[in-house]
Amino acid sequence: MKFEWFVASRYLLSRRKQSFISIISIISIAGVGLGVATVILVIAVLDGVEHGLKERFLANEAHIVLRLIDNGFYGDYQNKIEAIEDVEGVVAASPVVYSQLAVFREGSEQIEDVILIKGIEPEIEDKVTGFTKFVKGSYNFQNDDLIEQARLLNNETITGGIVLGSRLAQRLTVNEGDVLRLVVNMTEDKFSPGAFIPVIKNFVVIGFYESELTVYDDHITYIDLKAAQKIYNEVGRVNTIFVRLEDAELAPKMSEEIEEAAQFSVLEMPTTRTWMEKYAPLFAALELEKIATVIIEALIILVAAFNIASTLIMTVMEKTRDVGMLRTLGSSRGNIVRIFMIQGSVIGMLGTIAGTALGLGICWLLSSNVARPSPWFALGAVAILILFQIVIVLRRIMPHSKLRRGGLFVFWLLVVCFGLYCFVVPISLKELGLSAIYQMNQLPIKVNWFFVGFINLLSFAICWLATIYPAWQASNLKPIEALQYE
């Protein structure tokens, strides 16, 4: 390969026109590089969004929910929870009475809404869904001052405290200390058979649940586990067990293990749902988006590869006589093929490496909150550097030499890096007014190293394939015809 490398490298670094690298090679390298950088960047953003959403969801979501269907309740749930917590990889499990109830505001006869009620033990629930972190106000369901006050004021049977999702509370226009009336059951009216009257329990609003995730804040309410059990006349029993895992990604696999460990009887067999199943449509949409993006981005690299192919075809045309001479001197068709394939592959490889560096660099800049110089300072600095360069060129301060060309290359590389460092800053979703939609304050970036490796290989492979035709075309030149080519 020594001969082929020798010729190919000279064609790449063509000195004939006294340029550091022939301009056409630079354009090809830039084409591939920009393609690769874009892919890495876009996928990092998409991955970042997915990862950010997951993190947000998982912060207050049980990884696995074991729920008895048909309003059934587990008897000895303590034993089951202990057994589940003994499974390796399980952080904690909590007993929950999970139900949907209609709600009245105090003094109103109109059903306002149907809400999700979770009857929990705050301390245990905290280990599974980080409950207490998100509560504004109190979560002491039994002995809060507000409950005492309400009991005094209303002289009503107050069952206990209730924590409302913050957006739900806004919708119902209730404040701390207000009483909410929950329809827990219906009983037949003794006086008019066939008609039903609601059984109502009163709860005092003692706090608000604010996770900034609309899904929760809009729908969910928390009451004490014992209160919930009483509502259903299921004292000492629960209908749902929430489980948190060390690694949420293992949920599908772990759910079977957990079911086994809890030793549910045939009648108590729960429906098991992982967080992944719950959010499947969302993550499937994100995944689809990512696949579409990868395809589009692969097309960008393909375009860059066409660029390489046309560069090489032009080189072959320009070097036709050289190829004729090399063949005359005794180089084989294989030699010629390799010369042009090496040339194209080197372009592809340099482009891929440069693109990876650029893409990762921008990813880092977009996720680093280090303070940057002000844009005006940066503009000024870059302007001075450009002036400096113009002076060098006009006044011929430095003689033409390899060192000068190399020096200027490094110099401009640093200028570009500095410019990027000053101007590429994290994108604030808050300022763009998107933080509510994406549930995040800053555009998240997550580099998937496996994908970066994959894109590198893909880009290099496409570039390599692009070299085949021009190289083959060059090797097919007949020596005499090539020598006489004008």
Binding site: K2, F3, R10, S14, L326, T328, L329, G330, S331, S332
Partner: protein, 235 residues
């Protein structure tokens, strides 16, 4: 005199659609070792075609060429490429130097090709793979260009370029050097200098030359001159 190349009833036709254009119509010619043979003829008579076929750059329509009794017309493409690298040097009217390479690199090129090839050969014969530049330097010195080793072709004069081309033809110690109008593109004074170099090498190294020309001064320097007339060698 010992025969180096024997050309036996060589025919070459070119086709333009169905029309056959017969260029060589039965060339018979013996080329002796260490001679300078001049092939003369009017332009378009097929001198260059004959030279290309002798140089394995083209195949004859019919007939055989023997190099030291070995029939090269039976060689495969691969064998021809290898043979061309080992046994034949070329000098063209337009020097055909590679513009991206220095004089030294241009001269060394075919030896680098050979060394690269032999580096992967399994036939036991290995050449010192670093001797290309050494050889090239000696040859450039011998054609009077020791001051021009690192110059690119566009930094050399016409005569210098042609001398580089001659040095390049010699780097693999070929059996024969084929020159196609080597003085066709340079002025008279420079031509003389180039011819001096050719003659000097012929005498010093016993190098065989076949020169195609219509320059009568060149044929004066040749040991033997043959004329190609109507596709055949006229005696």
């Amino acid at each position: 005199m010992e025969t180096l190349i024997r050309i036996d009833n060589l025919h070459k036709s070119f086709y333009d659609g169905d029309i056959e254009l017969k260029v060589l119509k039965g060339v018979n010619l013996d080329i002796h070792k260490s001679e300078i043979l001049a092939i003369m003829g009017a332009s378009g008579v097929g001198k260059s075609t004959l030279l290309h076929i002798i140089g394995t750059l083209d195949r004859p329509t019919d007939g055989n060429i023997f190099y030291e009794d070995e029939d090269i017309t039976a060689f495969s493409e691969r064998e021809l490429t290898r043979f061309r690298n080992d046994a034949i040097g070329f000098v063209f009217q337009f020097h055909q130097l590679l513009p991206e390479f220095t004089a030294l690199e241009n001269v060394a090129m075919s030896r680098i090709i050979r060394n690269t090839r032999n580096a992967v050969d399994k036939d036991g014969i290995r050449y010192n793979s670093d001797d290309a530049y050494e050889k090239a330097e000696i040859l450039l010195e011998s054609v009077g260009l020791s001051e021009r080793l690192r110059h690119f072709p566009n930094q050399l004069s016409g005569g210098e370029r042609q001398r580089v081309a001659i040095a390049r033809a010699l780097v693999n110690q070929p059996k024969v050097v084929l020159a196609d109008e080597p003085t066709g593109n340079i002025d008279d004074k420079t031509s003389e200098a180039v011819l001096d170099v050719l003659q000097d090498i012929n005498e010093r190294l016993n190098q065989t030359f076949i020169i195609v020309t219509h320059d009568s001064r060149l044929s004066e320097r040749a040991n033997r001159t043959v004329h190609l007339v109507d596709g055949k060698i006229a005696d």
